[in-house]
Point group: C2
Chain length 426, copies 2
């Protein structure tokens, strides 16, 4: 398969998909749901192959857990498909309507981005979510999943692709890439692919960002912080930090560094240290932290830029909210950062000045997620300030175009002063 040739076909199919009716796109989602249920034994069989291979090749337990596609996962994805069908049409919404002059009317109308390449981790449910989000939003999608789910993805993709065609969508609306070298071919397709969404390790996402001229949406690091202000709530602070670290330590929105106000460090640190240790977390801290509660000293070679993605947490004492903000803007990754305080003014300062996609007061960083935000699903979390930021759902897969309706209008008439713009919003 030549990826560039295939994506060129998708680029040409993209206007047709963009012009498809909501009815057709929802029909595709309904047929996908139907087909997944009708062929579930085939899917489960393929998934057992992937699981057996994972066993043989010694894939780590957390990855194996995500590989699994069973009745429960099937029920989750079909429920999500139902939810997605119920959402209003994201396309052809008018977001600006303006009379430039009598009989010369401008509309700004939502449309799909076009052709999107998504490279994602070994999770079969992700393939269903991503392809259905792309179809609902009228985008052609190239899907490359983790190699550990090759067999499951092959069955899922073929069912989804056929359902889309049966619903009347163009054949080239979806493409599956299976080979790792196809990622490098994809990175060269800047004339046919409008956007890349890579998900996975820091190094992988960084590699993608450094090796393509195609716009990339996503995040490399997830160095998230919690700052414990001197006016923190004693009852909720420790369980919240434990949740943010341990509820899913491999997630990008798990906390990596806790900053503690110097005035409350002596009171707060010993209890926090005990709770984290009880939850299996290893503590690293500065000399100053170590004087209050014994921790492993953070070596000079390791800065606060580090993302552990593991049951390890960094602790540091700061002089107040300003130092906390500076630390986060310097060492953070602009993903999700939280302040624990009962003082609304301090919280407002923190949330305005911390330059991150998600800024929280008294809530676990783990809430940063498209499902939890009520977006139906997400294709990823962006830390860029261009285009979509934070969890990216349907809205983040949209662009817009300007439509101007005239009656033979020419610019010369306005340049000469014969006519004047009225710019009246409709």
């Amino acid at each position: 398969m030549n990826i560039h040739d295939e994506t060129l076909k998708m680029k040409l199919a993209s206007p047709l998909l963009s012009a498809s009716s909501l009815e057709t796109r929802n029909k595709a989602l309904a047929l996908i749901r139907e087909s997944l249920n009708a062929h579930k034994e085939e899917i489960f069989e393929a998934n057992r192959k992937d699981l057996a291979l994972a066993e043989e090749t010694g894939v780590p337990a957390p990855v194996k857990k995500r590989l699994k596609f069973d009745e429960a996962k099937l029920s989750d994805v079909t429920e999500e498909l139902t939810g997605l069908m119920a959402l209003p049409d994201p396309l052809r919404n008018i977001t600006l309507a303006r009379e430039l002059d009598q009989g010369l009317t401008l509309y700004r109308v939502t449309c799909p981005i076009g052709v999107i390449g998504v490279i994602f981790e070994a999770r079969p449910d992700a393939l269903v979510q991503i392809s259905s989000l792309c179809l609902k939003s009228g985008n052609c999608a190239i899907l490359k999943g983790g190699k550990e789910t090759t067999w499951t993805n092959r069955v899922l993709f073929s069912l989804i692709h056929q359902a889309a065609i049966d619903a009347g969508l163009p054949e080239n609306c979806l493409l599956q890439a299976e080979q790792h070298n196809e990622i490098d071919e994809l990175l060269e397709c800047h004339d046919t692919v409008d956007l890349l969404i890579p998900r996975g390790s820091n190094a992988f996402v960084q590699y993608i960002m450094n090796h393509t001229n195609i716009p990339v949406l996503g995040h490399a690091d997830g160095v998230c912080h919690i700052y414990v202000d001197k006016e923190y709530d004693k009852e909720t602070a420790i369980p919240l930090i434990v949740d943010a670290k341990t509820q899913y330590p491999a997630a990008c929105n798990a906390v990596e560094t806790v900053l503690i106000h110097r005035d409350v460090a002596k009171d707060f640190l010993p209890g926090l240290a005990k709770a984290l240790r009880d939850a299996g977390v290893k503590l690293r801290g500065t000399e100053e932290v170590n004087e209050i509660t014994p921790v492993e000293i953070i070596p000079e070679s390791e800065s606060f830029h580090h993302e552990y993605v593991d049951l390890i947490i960094a602790l540091k004492i700061v002089g107040g909210v300003d130092e906390a903000i500076n630390h986060i803007n310097t060492y953070g990754s602009h993903h999700t950062d939280c302040i624990l305080t009962q003082n609304a003014e301090t919280a407002e300062k923190f949330m305005t000045l911390v330059d991150s996609a998600n800024v929280y007061q008294n809530a676990s960083t783990r809430f940063a997620d498209g499902f939890r935000y009520g977006f139906g699903a997400e294709v990823g979390i962006s830390t860029s300030k261009i285009h979509a930021r934070g969890p990216v759902g349907l809205e983040g897969l949209l662009s817009y175009k300007y439509k101007l309706f005239g009656h033979g209008d020419i610019v010369g008439d306005y340049a000469s002063g014969k006519k004047h713009f009225i710019h009246k919003d409709l």
Copy 2:
């Protein structure tokens, strides 16, 4: 000057600028207006130096015309500043408010992009427009204008920068780059600069896009089309095409190719050819066009991808709207394309399927412009479908962040089923 050090200071100043009040930002605009008027003789004097140098070095006439900064230009930019001050605050607007659960409330709030580098042509008024748009939207800006306006830009920048500081904005809100090698340094600043907006020649913009990992907003080509459908309006078609080609041939939104429906080619082409020739336009066309009206045949080596940016136009006959759409999606640059037809259905088809930032029915392509759209001003026109598309005004200089307010909420409670999301829009 070390560009990276300077942009690092801007990155650290950026949250402060983002937190500034509308009052402070508008005060900066008012002081800029005041200062430009108070120091106008100094500005005109510097401009005379630039004009004299342009004369000596043989700068082409159209470029010289844009260099000029006189009373009329001063009056234009101060009027624009007044208009910009009157616009509502683009920052801290709530675009989503949702109760995720009782006492757990999510807001999506507009904020600036951060640090933006704008590289623009030799036009002193552009420096005023761009810096004022950036300040109004709370963005730090690095400004690099064309070398032909060095003296004028130096005076303008120093007045604008001082006015911003006097209004209380951070010193590092604006930076002027003057040396061409500083552009290459800027391209390396992906850790400090959030967005680049290059304006200028195709080759220049392409160079920027190919040599940086910073997101780039803009357009390289402006290969715009007009398709004359068989149901075109006889009275307005020819003047409209003449306007689109000749009203400002060097503009990116000037038409480069006219496609004509075969059914009307014999009737339409001779009249069009005469009108264009009378306006000084050279005609290039296919063999089929030449059989109807004599033109210079388009050589094989030159495809319809070509942007003339001159008084030259390409003519081609097509079988109908479908062939026109395919031609435009294949050879166009996704900038601005127009259909001339009285048939609303044909127009709708064209405007939906042509994959361009601006799609027009019966209006000159020259209307694609931020001022004409009523955006107050523009920093450029984007042909990307990521982030802003089409003419980019204040809105295109914005990002957003998610703010979540809780009371010690943890994700574990939702994962365990103890609590459930309500996702109620406020």
